[in-house]
């Protein structure tokens, strides 16, 4: 009886795996075609939050650099007393520009 009984048991067919399981396994391991690669980092990303403000700051630094450069020129025959007042007035202009730019930056934010 054992052999017959075992044969009978062997003949019983088990259920198949759920049909969606195959796709659930292999579908999620493949990258979907419409996935967009993240863009490469550029300088634009760094400037993105306030490009005008960064531009203004860069301009300000250029003004200071120009002033510093003009102060360092030794060939000037200007009398010693005249130089400080010229430098002082240009510095005041630069500071005034700085305040204006500062307001502009604040208004952007």
């Amino acid at each position: 009886m054992n052999d017959d009984f075992e044969r009978k048991l062997r003949q019983q067919p088990f259920r198949a795996p759920p049909p969606d399981l195959r796709e659930a396994i292999f579908g999620r391991t493949e990258k979907p075609a419409n996935v967009i690669e993240p863009a490469r980092w550029t300088w634009r990303d760094w400037f993105w939050p306030a490009p005008q403000a960064w531009g203004a700051l860069a301009a300000l630094w250029l003004i200071f650099a120009a002033l510093t450069w003009s102060e360092d020129r030794p060939a000037s025959p200007t009398p010693a007393l005249a130089a400080p007042s010229a430098v002082a007035s240009s510095t005041l202009v630069a500071i005034h520009h700085f305040h204006e730019l500062h307001h502009a930056i604040n208004s952007l934010n």
Binding site: M1, N2, F5, L9, R10, P13, F14, L21, I25
Partner: protein, 168 residues
Amino acid sequence: MSPDLRQLYDEHAPALFAFLLNFTRREEDARDVLQELFLKLVARPELLAGVENLRAFLLRLAHRQAIDAHRRRATQEAAIERAAAEPVALFVAAEDPDEAAFRAALAGGLAELPAEQRAVVHLKLWEQMTFAEIADALDIPANTAASRYRYGLDKLQALLRPLYEELR
């Protein structure tokens, strides 16, 4: 993605699912373990390198993962035995009422076996593995596999005999 893994799935997933369904007695668990197993192979295809008997290897992996899954949920034996008490559709539905009754009784009889005995019975009957192969797959001595099979079959026979005799 290696296309061989899809082929591997088509060839072995039905047998693995049947084993897992019978062992865990919960469709959700069988499904989760099978999915986990194949995702593991997708991630680490080198696991299959040098494997001679793929079916035996996959059944061994499935058995281990099913046990791990139950350990994560609760105490292994308690969880499996608790799940075994719940009815599960193990077999394809039969149109013939006698056959349907036999399948239902067989599913009920299998549920009454301890999980590890059920695993041995499944591998012997439906995978037709030798006791040595079963021992390797389940990490047990071959003698233990043989005795578990004998006890399991005797129990099934005792439970199903009236119905079986009637159907003959």
